[in-house]
Symmetry: C3
Amino acid sequence: MPVLLAPEQAPTLHELLRDANTAGLDSQIIQAPNMPEPRIRGLGSLLYAGPSEISFLSNPKLSDQLADCKAAAVILTPQAYQSLFEEATPLRRDAAPSTETIQPTAATSTAKAAPLSFHVVLCSRPYLMYALLAQWFDRHRLDSLATGIHHTAVVADDAELAEGVSVGPHCVIESGARIGAGSRLGPACIVGAGSVLGRDCLLHARVTLYHGVKVGDRAILHSGVVLGADGFGFAPDPRQSTGAWAKISQLGGVAVGDDVEIGANTTVDRGALEDTLVGNGVKLDNQIMLAHNVKIGDHTAIAACVGVAGSTVIGQRCTIAGAAMISGHLVLGDDVHVSGGTAITSNVGAPGRYTGVYPYAEHTQWQRNAAVVSQLSQLRRRLRALERSED
Amino acid sequence: MPVLLAPEQAPTLHELLRDANTAGLDSQIIQAPNMPEPRIRGLGSLLYAGPSEISFLSNPKLSDQLADCKAAAVILTPQAYQSLFEEATPLRRDAAPSTETIQPTAATSTAKAAPLSFHVVLCSRPYLMYALLAQWFDRHRLDSLATGIHHTAVVADDAELAEGVSVGPHCVIESGARIGAGSRLGPACIVGAGSVLGRDCLLHARVTLYHGVKVGDRAILHSGVVLGADGFGFAPDPRQSTGAWAKISQLGGVAVGDDVEIGANTTVDRGALEDTLVGNGVKLDNQIMLAHNVKIGDHTAIAACVGVAGSTVIGQRCTIAGAAMISGHLVLGDDVHVSGGTAITSNVGAPGRYTGVYPYAEHTQWQRNAAVVSQLSQLRRRLRALERSED
Amino acid sequence: MPVLLAPEQAPTLHELLRDANTAGLDSQIIQAPNMPEPRIRGLGSLLYAGPSEISFLSNPKLSDQLADCKAAAVILTPQAYQSLFEEATPLRRDAAPSTETIQPTAATSTAKAAPLSFHVVLCSRPYLMYALLAQWFDRHRLDSLATGIHHTAVVADDAELAEGVSVGPHCVIESGARIGAGSRLGPACIVGAGSVLGRDCLLHARVTLYHGVKVGDRAILHSGVVLGADGFGFAPDPRQSTGAWAKISQLGGVAVGDDVEIGANTTVDRGALEDTLVGNGVKLDNQIMLAHNVKIGDHTAIAACVGVAGSTVIGQRCTIAGAAMISGHLVLGDDVHVSGGTAITSNVGAPGRYTGVYPYAEHTQWQRNAAVVSQLSQLRRRLRALERSED
């Protein structure tokens, strides 16, 4: 369960919206009758939010859950709010439904009290408002953490730490590394020689940047992330016994844009000669592997357990679902969407969704059908033969 | 090769069984003729166990290996023991086969000497007895390790460490964390703010618990495990250039039951609002990814490289074999068994085994058949056409 | 972009070849007219190498890139060099083509100046020469790093560190561990009790060796590698509620040969009773999982995201491409090549290439064809019926 703010730290509903709504979304508070303005200690789902928490409804299919919602306040679209009074939803109403028309405004204001057991925040984008509130609560937690350079951290004399940088216990900042203002490093992070981290980055515990890695502003890097390990490059080595490999030392780096998030235990290898590139706004989930010289376009999102082999270029605004595998030396254009578990083995030019998953079945049924997969070419031949004999 | 106990530390066969057989399994020692009771320094397979080690036969197909077994003692079922004297197995016998009937008893006792070159431990469950002995040897190794709080560990003033807790070098225990009695943390473990670890847990080197993670009693967590990294949650952000994502900060936690083991580099993300749940007795292998809000039922075992996408619920006593991939927002019932490499893309209600793997073949043969996969729908149409023309 | 050597550290072209060409490859320098011998500060691709860098041409298809190459020197085969003067490649020539016949010799020597804007290094194996140069530059970088035992490292009194061993900040070397001469450990590495590391190994930051792990000479281990975590072994435990598992403690170790490289976040589990084995010259990419008792033959190379289940034996000189999955208890012979994303589910005896990948397609097209996969057995029956009715 989410940790709640202590009551004395909790903002009022107005204060919360004022501080958290950094996007200037339209919002209007409709107070529940006879209820004082609540202090909001946390954020919860409709089912589980408690009486000190705020919740939201973004998926209309869940509107039934409003009936038993115990939240102090709920974010609703004006449409969802109005439909509450039109449908037979068994809300815990304290009075007859109001018929006034709600006009959301860009500024947060207080309208007449609604006949509900919770306060309502009208907003045309409840899901984005929820995202902003969640960010606010997490920022609040972060701001309460210790700052400064922990005395067990090992920071090279010639490393440059800008103003307000926090370095946790047992971190190692190597020679020539630079860290931008306001960045926070959790415990046991390592920033290799000459690597550069931008402003306002958040490195959770145990992130590893090798030497020669550049990360832009506002990055969020999770535990176990490794940026800049050697790409997998070997040449057959005729000097040694048959089959031996000579290492191709990887001299490139890794360059990561601004506003990138990288999930736990994801690895991005350094390039062979040039940099491996991760564009602005890219979101990488856990346990992803980007091989050397891969390039990921801006705002592309990749789910967990995906592997992208060497030198492949993926365009902008793509989504790659979990456990997809992309072969090396390919080009995927912008706005390409790859389904989970799909192996992409050739270039993909046109935007669209691409899939290649063997359908699962009960085991013996799968066995029966899979046996035929190995005869498909023969089956087609037999079909052709029949067709010819028809003619 | 397994490390052997020093001779002076090694228990006699009787002592070993007395101390290791914590499950009270039936067992009876049948001494080899003219051999003193051995001290058992380690545990080995039938092929490789040396003369100071104990071995076991659980798979009857391996009984031929008894002939050359050099172990000091071997655990056998009464049936396997008797069949030794019925078959023509060329055992290194020192005398004619005994014909006495062996009556295993619940207590360990010594029967008449057997005409074999190794001592026999009769037990109706040799594999489970082996497991217990292996646990004993590993516990013995653990008990020899240093305990206490290493002076390089960084432990917050308000963290609560119960009696007998061991904290290795370079660990970090953050504010408000609580660790139950008898738990051991290897080097460089991190327990985030407010996280709770139960009693008698074993954290190998370099385990990371974020803030707000709860782990039950007797957990075994391996190196590189990350519990509580952010789930992969983003909302389209209309404020920014097309395609940008707004982070949905993940406010839930991770709750892990009792008797759970989690393998190296496995990651379990924190929930968006509620906790990600791992039930009692769950066993997770290496490099598994459990996304936010996943729920794993009691005693389910998941092999390596499996990914489970967000909000999926898996029942009790399931087994998910290696590299299977489970899509998000699904429900898998109890006693569902998923084959390796299988992608589960819809709910699975009925117990049973489910498979979906493309059969491999020699490459050119695969190419020929795979070319037809992309025409299957057309093939079926052509077949229908032929069938109609038959009528 | 690769970090360049400072001008005063940069070797001349002759010095570089003399020092880097440890394989004694044939090489001959052909100086560009009117250009002094350059100092080489780095290595770059034909497209991006700058005027202080050396480049190479190994793939004849890229020879067009020579025209605009700004490198100080380029490694070429004699054939490629000659063809420059035969083809109409628009090179930046300063004079008419030379017609002299180039006779490469085993020793580096200087021939007559070539009429090109870059110096030429003639070599019959440009790719291997490039590998050697890249190794030289990386070794140069490594040699500039601090050595010795960092004061924050925790080294057991009875650990044995041979001459010239470097141990980075926050490392932990446990009791009885032994590290061979010239090995370097980056920050936060852990070498468990009694583990043995050979000579001249390079452990990047945050490598974990459990107890009882042996690694040979010249290993390169990347961040997040975990050698020796417990194999995934459990026996049904009838003592507890239905479905509970009894742990089989893993008493074997891991034994890694000489000249092995292991990529970031790869895990190799310890054996149940005997060791898990990784042969000499084996190359493992990132995020690979080798389960307990796996054996990998010499010079086999495995790409990222591959899983090999327990007790499987893979031969020598195999290549396993990315995201392939090998089931347990199998034997793959020597010189077997497995394609990416392929699941190997039975023994593979004959050398060759093996593939099993579901072909991807545009999503709706995939849907149409995949629907037939579940009817293949029935389809074959219908085809047979038609064939019989033909007769």
